[in-house]
Symmetry: C2
């Protein structure tokens, strides 16, 4: 590393940061005041949209997500805006028809989006094809994504092959998405070195701090030549979020990977965002703190707490150890899918059933059946044949891209929502969330949109500090 090659930084505070730490509740009104300063920093991009933000806007904040995007675009004229897209699922929870995917990407681009990070929970690249194609058609930046996970079949070679497939598809860059905090420093060195060797598009690392390792992994990634790292302004960093932007900038200052970003300017923004965070104190949770558990049993932190809640409701919290042991077994039976929405729910719920019934697969969920039929895409490894026979008998298994079987649906959606939609964007909001979207549009029509109430900020204590 003798030649200076500044690391590029994507700050994710306005999307993944608050999604990870305060249940995606940050409001546009709290983003806009720091935008001028953020815009002046020189980030490679700002992730500000997509993921769960669309849902949270419509469900809790009663904000029009498209309006948010336009406002951010206006407030950030000099910085590329980035969003997270769940492949064929877009921002919803099922595969959409291609015409919806194409319309959604087109409208996102028109409203100001520059970079689209597109992933599929199965790492089945067919499920990101339509979205990536639509991004390219809009003349924007398509970033293909590798969902990082560990299993006997998830070798470096497999990830490299996926990267090659995505490059052949035409992506402009590739992100490694370590949603669970599974990466270790040494695994990162190996993976990034191999990818840098084999693909020439820029590489980005998105690693959650869940197990406390993400900063260490980023340092090793930077040494291995990574191009872009995802960080979050400190007020929305660490815990289940990402390494702090200021920390990583400081860590690389004066090295040949110095980002060149201005620390005092970053600190000024962070100070303001710490005040913003206080406003959302009711959404703070013990479950968002760092926990090395995922490094022990490979079960993501969010999944563990959801399962704990599920078991508690059924008065079976004492079985949680058995459920954790069952998860890897179910995952193996299903051909080792990465554990991320929706596969984490599919695997987790079936594991709970297997344990509570005291006999495995006495009951099989509809989602597992659909999964075994191929409706989520190709599993990373072969699924268990006996389980499949038990689950779906002689029913068909598809091996085409799941969305190939979905007929165009935009026209019907447009008719269904009718005059409540004032724009194509409104139709897409309804497409993402049929019930929620209709409620939102109706309330808007009636002028009755009311965001959820925030609890007042208490008097935070402060005490003098001694050092040394």
């Amino acid at each position: 590393m003798s030649q200076a090659k500044p690391v590029l930084i994507t700050d994710v505070a306005l999307r993944d940061g608050h999604q990870s730490l305060i249940a995606t509740r940050m409001r546009t009104e709290d983003m806009l005041p720091v935008c001028a300063e953020l815009d002046a920093i020189g980030f490679w991009s700002l992730e500000v949209w997509g993921g769960a933000t669309f849902d949270a806007c419509v469900r809790f904040l009663k904000e029009d997500p498209w309006e948010r995007l336009r406002k951010l675009r206006e407030a950030l004229p000099n910085t590329k805006l980035q969003m997270l897209v769940r492949g064929q699922n877009l921002l919803g929870y099922r595969h959409y028809a291609d015409d919806v995917v194409e319309a959604f990407i087109k409208k996102s681009a028109e409203n100001g989006m520059d970079i689209f990070r597109v992933f599929d929970a199965m790492n089945d690249v067919r499920n990101i094809e339509t979205a990536v194609g639509a991004v390219k058609k809009s003349g924007k930046h398509a970033q293909g994504t590798i969902c990082y996970t560990t299993s006997p079949v998830h070798t470096t070679a497999k990830f490299v092959q996926q990267a090659r497939d995505m490059v052949n598809m035409g992506v402009d860059s590739i992100a490694i998405k370590d949603m669970a905090g599974l990466l270790t420093p040494s695994a990162t060195s190996e993976l990034i070195a191999a990818l840098k060797q084999e693909v020439s598009v820029p590489l980005a690392l998105h690693s959650h701090m869940t197990s406390g390792l993400a900063g260490l992994c980023q340092l090793k990634a930077v040494e291995a030549g990574i191009d872009i790292i995802d960080t979050a302004m400190s007020a929305f960093a660490n815990g289940t979020s990402h390494p702090a932007t200021e920390t990583m900038v400081a860590a690389l200052k004066g090295t040949d990977r110095d980002s060149g970003l201005d620390l005092p300017a970053l600190q000024s923004i962070a100070t303001q965002l710490w005040e913003v965070r206080k406003k959302y104190h009711q959404f703070e949770s013990e479950f968002t703190r760092e926990d090395v558990g995922v490094q022990i049993n490979q079960v993501p932190g969010g999944m563990m707490s959801n399962l704990a809640n599920q078991l508690k409701e059924q008065g079976a919290l004492h079985r949680i150890g058995d459920v954790f042991a069952e998860i890897p077994a179910v995952r193996k039976d299903l051909g080792y899918p990465p554990l991320v929405t929706p596969t984490s729910q599919i695997v987790g719920t079936q594991a709970v059933m297997n344990i509570l019934a005291d006999k495995r697969y006495t009951t099989i969920t509809n989602e597992v059946k659909r999964y075994l039929q191929g409706h989520y895409g190709a599993a990373p490894a072969a699924v268990d044949k006996d389980l499949r026979a038990l689950a779906i008998g002689s029913e068909d298994v598809i091996d085409v891209r799941p969305a190939d079987l979905i007929s165009p649906e935009l026209k019907k959606l447009r008719e269904d929502i009718g005059a409540l939609a004032k724009s194509e964007e409104d139709v897409l909001t309804f497409a993402m969330f049929p019930d929620l979207g209709r409620t939102f549009l109706s309330e808007r029509e009636a002028g009755t949109l009311v965001p959820e109430v925030l609890e007042p900020i208490g008097q935070g204590g402060s005490r003098p500090v001694t050092e040394g």
Copy 2:
């Protein structure tokens, strides 16, 4: 690094962890329940005593600190206990006579201490001589300490020379104490590599997470061959404390520096300590969170918040920017002392005076005068001659070890406290804190020791979590 060389770990949760995060308030009753599990882990050592813990026991907790040491010794039969000693200051705030230092070390060893980390705020090794000698006389492990700081004179060569001087003095190991979080990953690589080259005793790295960099620095230190790293169980880690033990253990798993420590066993302890931490919620503070500020202006976080409080009381908070700019100037005039208790207070208070008086050194504090007379030891660089002339005129400047001028004082202390002391340990408690110690011993005699009241634990909120 082809040969496996497990990194050794000192866990500091029971001393520096709670000192950094909850104002040193953890009580012995909350330490003992996890001791059996801690003892089984295989830590190189557990830092459990010294620093501010002695003061906090006597002042707030109304616990006999010696009693704590004996209980911990009994509860941790298989693990080396470690303490932090402020050189000739021991655990107090002034230089003591040699007889007090010798008696204190001897009694600490007799009560169960194994490893003594001894530092001097000026890095004047003469100020640790007596303590180190006493440790060796007790047959225990003496760890010499380099207080890490940055200045034009604090070169790697200077630190290496200090290390050599301490090795010549007979220390068994050397610690780099980065109390402010000033180290960067690249600076760490350079420093550790140089020290490993030049000294053969084991090296330990103690770096606070204040600026978020300590974990990154430890990783680079490990790569450079460091022997020991200081971490804290996650419940008392991060922020102004240290990297989390579980995180660093996980980070090195499977590498040739794998610590070999058991992650599930560590997590079990951490879970219990998270519950303990709740009990002390009233001592949580915004000032203990990570803040990259020290990497910008080299002023330690604790010092910044203390100065803010000081200025606020004088209605001059708006001058804080000027004070921060004045600190490096005062530090330069004083020959670049590291900023740690007591030098941080000496420099900070004088900087405030220089700014509020609108003319530098109109008033000079007694501590600055004593400093310029040499009573804290030799400054790292020459002090400003004009300032010294202004401050002390033609008064003598000493160039001997300050404690050479302090007559034996143990006998007088013993007489002063009289029958209130039931043991030599009690005399030493009184020696450390004349007023507090007397109050403590009197209340104990009267049976009126009452620890400060803890506020009840509120109902902490928890919410379901979504990942992905």
